[in-house]
Symmetry: C2
Subunit: 197 residues, 2 copies
């Protein structure tokens, strides 16, 4: 069986954007599979007493992050424009991703939502934005969105977020190999190497 | 003139340990010089409302960090034992480092203090520990420690910490190239690459 990493991501998370852009290619080159695991950081940050992104709560860290993200995207040749609102609410997009996690179009959908948020400055909280991303992939947007808002789909995302908490995930992106966590876009290569040992 | 990076570190900082262990060799291989810049995180964390390490304040993050540090040290073949007390007070060692920052023995001293803290579980806040590190390098420990506690030496470290704050440093290790910050042990390679552009 080919080695696999789990890619835990949240649509509001800045460093998840370059990670989502490169995880599929990097894993393919390493001969490693990827399981896409969307979750929500809100409840996790809430546990830590934060009701906002730590990049807003700690502005010095936030200033660094935006510059760092700009550099990283430039190097990856991934388009980047600092969003006029941060963080944006990724709940709807996460529900879509969670209930379609094994669909072949999922990685392209995830990248499309990140691009809308971090390159096109669009509000991913709006159904119209998520719908446009689905449309661009030739998918039946209305139907996908309806299913993503069913009680079962909502429950699935809640359970996945609970699983993240249970497994010790505290930020995004996090790559997981068995019980080993690798936190941060810059740790993807370490996770891939670990999965092959 | 050869490119140079600044290596900003704090003796209590866990990820500064592997960074200090590898920065000199990595920079030499890249043809880049290193300026060693000790500073104190305490005043910076104080500004953020923390009176302890964030790894203690946020235990889930702390648990991850200890495991991650163990993995990193194993890969670098750097000895590691989780200290029985964390964080330890690196004030005295930082004063020594700050007032001897350009001495040829400085890198070995810095590595010795980190090893005492993170491999030998010794209390680096104690003059006896810092003294042993100096002794092992064949240095006049009593004299070095006395100078390090002079008003001028204390002032020098305060100024260096103020400079860290002014330049937007919020954690350790931080590598600096001009105005560009690279935060974290795992960003050393990025800083080296940046310094050569």
């Amino acid at each position: 069986m080919a080695p696999t990493i789990e890619f835990w991501f949240e649509f509001a998370s800045t460093y998840s954007y370059p990670a989502a852009a490169r995880v599929e290619d990097a894993a393919r080159r390493a001969g490693v599979g990827v399981t896409w695991r969307p979750f929500l950081l809100g409840p996790i940050f809430g546990h830590q007493g934060w009701n906002d992104s730590p990049f807003n709560i700690y502005p010095v860290k936030g200033r660094y992050m935006w510059r760092d993200l700009e550099r990283i995207c430039a190097r990856l040749e991934v388009p980047f424009r600092r969003p006029s609102q941060f963080p944006r609410n990724g709940l709807l997009a996460a529900r879509v991703a969670c209930s379609n996690a094994t669909e072949p179009w999922l990685p392209a959908f995830v990248r499309g939502v990140y691009r809308a948020n971090f390159a096109e400055d669009r509000d991913i909280a709006q159904a119209a934005t998520v719908s446009d991303v689905l449309d661009a992939l030739g998918l039946p947007a209305a139907e996908v969105l309806e299913r993503a808002q069913s009680p079962a789909a909502k429950q699935r995302l809640r359970e996945q977020t609970d699983e993240a908490i249970r497994r010790g995930i505290f930020g995004a992106p996090t790559f997981v190999v068995g019980d080993e966590l690798f936190w941060g876009n810059d740790r993807l290569e370490d996770a891939l190497a670990w999965s092959r040992t």
